[in-house]
Amino acid sequence: MEQMSSTPEMSVSLGPLVLANPVMTASGTFGYAEEFASLVPLHQLGGVVVKGISIAPRSGNPPPRVVETPCGMLNAIGLENVGVERFISEKMPFLRTCGCRVIVNILGDSIEEYAELAARLSAVAGVDALEVNISCPNVKKGGVAFGTVPEMAAAVTMAVRKSTDLPVIVKLSPNVTDITTMAKVVADSGADALSLINTLIGMAIDARTRKSKLGNIVGGLSGPAIKPVALRMVWQAASAVTIPVIGIGGIGTAEDAVEFLLAGATAVQVGTANFYNPSAACQILAGIQRYLEEQDESSVRSIIGTFRAEV
């Protein structure tokens, strides 16, 4: 049987933030977008999430900072970034021209810093949304990550929410016993959307020298290795809250991305895959489109959360 098939409708909404399509690049894996400009047609992307920005510039951790692991990698960059002022003056001009949504990932040592960043960035033309990285240590609480204590995660979310009119996405840490508690607390504190997962904490030792393979000893595990954990957490989080969820973790193919959409993610972010395959995000977008056509779906929205949790 022949069928009239029009191109599936690809746009999705993350609360107030509308994306032309659900494929973004993840923070820390796509620089400030210009690094990929000669290799990737940036305007095709649903959005770009830039490297995490803090108030003051940070120089990051001592080398070595990256090490490969089976089907994954550990990074201990240490949140190196140019600081919010240089970000605005040096990086935003290019980002404003790239033809897709620009989401700024923010991080701080204290709740006040998050709030200050949110306020500062709200005034900047071309910033479409904020993504709040709560996997950072709370200096006042002895370095416990904001994202591992529900009260602290709530406090950061509320502080950012109060300081900006921009859409607020809160990015959850996977290093917790119960991701649904964190998801609910953050949703109840005013987030417009959630994104998850950030990296799992891991480590690698050089047997010969008996030293860490990372300057910082521990680092964040990312890449295909973590996809099963990420998918499970996205499914649990999306089932626990009513706000939209962005799926992240080991996504390298359209099939991976579709798994996250089926599990309840409204959009996805491509991280480590940008390193080994800069075309990944665009290939994933094309592949999702093909999948929708094969499955006779008229829009990407109609597959979100349609995972059938029976067997």
């Binding site: 000669s38 990051g60 900072r65 990074n75 390193f275 800069p278």
Partner: protein, 258 residues
């Protein structure tokens, strides 16, 4: 920036020594854009393990459309490359990073240790095109690793002196031992090799007030300036990112003792 992602067909595979291989690749976009000292990121496996691309210096540009890579087999990725056959296709990103300064300085000295020799042949060939006098000092574990490479440098008109760890050819000892006697005449040095070799070279050049450029290595995830993984300690601005600020740096920018 002219950076390309390109499927490159393997044209030839040479085993130069025990663990030294040389690949010739058709790279019609990357080859013409390449400058000595720049590198490419090679996807060694079509699958997910090893996951990340591996950085290799452009060893040489053959006719305008081809580049060569010279590599030593040290792990998974280089093992896969060594097993490639003509006709196989490799995905490359490049040319990347800042290369060597090629200017009017004359005469110049190139010092390569082990697989660090890789970028120097492209540099020598470029320098010889404008008839710069090039002295090339090559060091390696053993003579076998140097036969073919020595011939290539001589063929392009360089004066070559070699040193081996085992004394199987040339001077028995460190390649940097050959440098002091040459240095006073030089207008510039270019070095690539193990870090201690480059550190010694940098020190000698500094003492002799000869400008020196080095090509550094660091673990890289992206090669594009995005992951911020490829740091080395710089003298002034804290950290340097090898893939964008390097891999070639002026020796005095690097904190050699870190």
């Amino acid at each position: 920036m002219s950076e390309f992602q390109e499927n490159c067909t393997v044209v030839a595979v040479e085993q130069l020594a025990d663990t030294f291989y040389r690949l010739t690749l058709a790279a019609p976009q990357i080859a013409p854009a390449s400058h000595p000292g720049q590198f490419v990121m090679v996807a060694c496996s079509p699958g997910l393990n090893p996951l990340l691309r591996r950085p290799f210096s452009v060893h040489r540009r053959c006719d305008p459309d081809r580049i060569q890579l010279l590599f030593r087999v040290v792990g998974q990725g280089t093992e896969l490359l060594a097993a490639k056959k003509p006709g196989d296709v490799l995905n490359l990103i490049g040319p990347l990073g800042r290369g060597f300064t090629v200017d009017a300085a004359d005469p110049v000295c190139l010092i390569g240790g082990g697989i660090g020799i890789a970028p120097l042949l492209f540099l020598a060939e470029q320098l010889r095109m404008t008839r710069r006098a090039c002295t090339v000092l090559l060091g390696s574990r053993t003579a076998a690793e140097l036969y073919r490479l020595t011939a290539d440098f001589i063929e392009c008109g360089c004066e070559v002196e070699i040193a081996t760890d085992d004394g199987s050819a040339g001077y028995h000892g460190l390649v940097t031992d050959l440098l002091p006697r040459r240095l006073s005449a030089m207008k510039r040095c270019y070095a690539c090799g193990p870090k201690p070799m480059m550190a010694t070279t940098a020190l000698l050049c500094q003492a002799a007030r000869v400008p020196c450029q080095v090509s550094l290595e660091a673990h890289m995830a992206c090669g594009l300036g995005a992951c911020l993984g490829c740091t080395v300690h710089g003298v002034e601005n804290g950290y340097l990112h090898i893939c964008r600020q390097g891999p070639v740096l002026n020796a005095e920018e690097v904190a050699w003792n870190r």
